[in-house]
C-alpha cells in the first residue's frame, strides 16, 4: 500500500493492466498541459492527450505511451484509464514510423475537414509514440522491477 511518501499507481487499458505499484513521481500529459504528480497531491481529475506517461521510483523509471484517456488522483493514488497504452520498449519503431508516413501522405490528399482532423490526430499519435520510444532508448534508464509484469 502507498505510504505517505509514495504514490500508488495503476495504469489500465480496456484490454489489460500495464502497471500496478508504487511511485515517487508520475508525470502525465494532461489535456491542459504536462502534469507532475507527487505524493499527497490534491484530488484531481483530468483528461489526457497523447504523450509520455512516466513513472519514477527509486531512481528507476517506467516510460509509457498513452494515446489519451483519463487520470484521477485521490487519496494518494493515481489511476490512469488509458484509451490505449504501451510500455516504451514495446513500441515498434518501424511500425510507428510507417504509420507516421502513412498519415502524412494521406493528409496531403485529405478531402473533408473531419478526415483531416482524424489524420492530424493519427499523425500526432504516431509522432508521440516515436518520441517516447526514442526518449526511452536514449535514456536507457533502469526499469522498475515488476513482480507481476505481464508475459
Amino acid at each position: 500500500m502507498a505510504t505517505r511518501n509514495t504514490l500508488h499507481v495503476e495504469v489500465v487499458t480496456a484490454e489489460r493492466e500495464l502497471y500496478n505499484g508504487e511511485a515517487d513521481i508520475v508525470s502525465a500529459p494532461g489535456s491542459e498541459g504536462m502534469l507532475g504528480i507527487l505524493p499527497r497531491h490534491a484530488a484531481l481529475l483530468t483528461t489526457l492527450k497523447p504523450g509520455e506517461l512516466n513513472i519514477k521510483l527509486n531512481g528507476s523509471e517506467e516510460p509509457l505511451f498513452v494515446s489519451g484517456g483519463f487520470l484521477e488522483v485521490s487519496n494518494n493514488s493515481v489511476t490512469v484509464l488509458a484509451d490505449t497504452a504501451e510500455h516504451a520498449e514495446e513500441i515498434d519503431q518501424a511500425r510507428a514510423e510507417a504509420a507516421r508516413r502513412r498519415a502524412q501522405e494521406s493528409l496531403e490528399q485529405a478531402e473533408s475537414d473531419t478526415q483531416r482532423a482524424e489524420l492530424i490526430g493519427a499523425l500526432e499519435r504516431a509522432m508521440t509514440r516515436l518520441r517516447v520510444a526514442e526518449l526511452a532508448r536514449r535514456h536507457g534508464g533502469r526499469r522498475i522491477e515488476m513482480p507481476h509484469s505481464e508475459q
Binding site: 489500465v12 487499458t13 480496456a14 484490454e15 489489460r16 493492466e17 481529475l45 483528461t47 484521477e72
Partner: protein
Amino acid sequence: MASTREIRRRIKSVKNTAQITKAMQMVASSKMRRAQERVQQARPYAEQIRALVSRLANAVGEDIGEGVTLLKQRPVHNIGIVMITPDRGLCGALPSNINRKAAATALELQGNLADQGVRPEVGFVTVGRKGRDYIVRTQRSMLAEFTNYGDKPALTDATAIARVAVDAFQKGEVDAVYLVYAKFINTVTQQPTSFQLLPVQPPSKEENDDQRAVEYIYEPDARTIFEALLPRYVDVQVYQALLEAVASQYSAQMVAMKNATDSANDLVQDLTLSYNKARQAAITMQILEVVAGSTV
C-alpha cells in the same frame, strides 16, 4: 437384422464422428479458458471506469446531468436492442436462448409501455450471424449487423458497435437501448441477460466505497470530462459483454460437444452389441446348416 458388414461400417463412422466431436470439445475448452482470461484482464479497467462514473455522477449532481445527452431520460417511442450472439453453431441451445431472450425483452418493454398507450417500435442491432439470421427469419427490423468478431474481440470492435447505438440515440432514432448477451456464469451455465445501455444509468455508489464527496480539481472541467467519459463507459460495457459472450459461446460449445461425444460412444456400444449378436446368429446358422446336411 442388418448384415455384419453394414453394422461394422456404421461403427466405424460413428467412431470417427466421436473423434471429431472430442477434438472440438478440447479446442472449445482451451479457447474458453483463454476467453475467460481476457474477461479477467479487462476487469480492472471496467471496475475503475464504473467507480469513476459513479463518483463523477455524484460530484456533478443532477443539474449538470440535464445537459448531458447520454444520461437524458426521454419519453420512449423507439427502442433499440443490441444482441450479441455466436457467429457459429455447434454450441447447443445457446443461440436460440439468446434470441428468445432478445424477443422476450422486446415484448416486455412493449408491454410496459402499452399501459401508457404507447406502442414502441423495436429495432435490433445484431452482433454475430445467429442473431442476424433470427432477426431476418422472423422479419423484425434491423438497424445494423456485425459479424465475424472472432475469438478475441478488440476494444475497437466494441467501439464500432457502441457507436451505432450512441449515434442512433443521439439522433433520436431510438430513445432507449438495451443490450442482450449471454452472461458467463461458469463452465456449464450461461445466462442470457439484458440490461439498459442507454440512457446511461450511473452505477450506484458501492457500499464499501470509502470515497467521501471528494472535492476534485477538474481539468478542463467536470462536464467536459463527464461527456468524454460516458461514451467510453458505454464502449467498455459493450466490450465486457462481448468478451463474456465469447467465453459463454465456447463453454456452451464445449458442453454440446461433450454430450455429442458421449452419445456417440453410447451408440458405438449399442452397435457393437448388435454386431456381436449378428455375428453369433450367422455362426449358429452355419452350424445348423452343417448339422442339417450331415444327418441326411
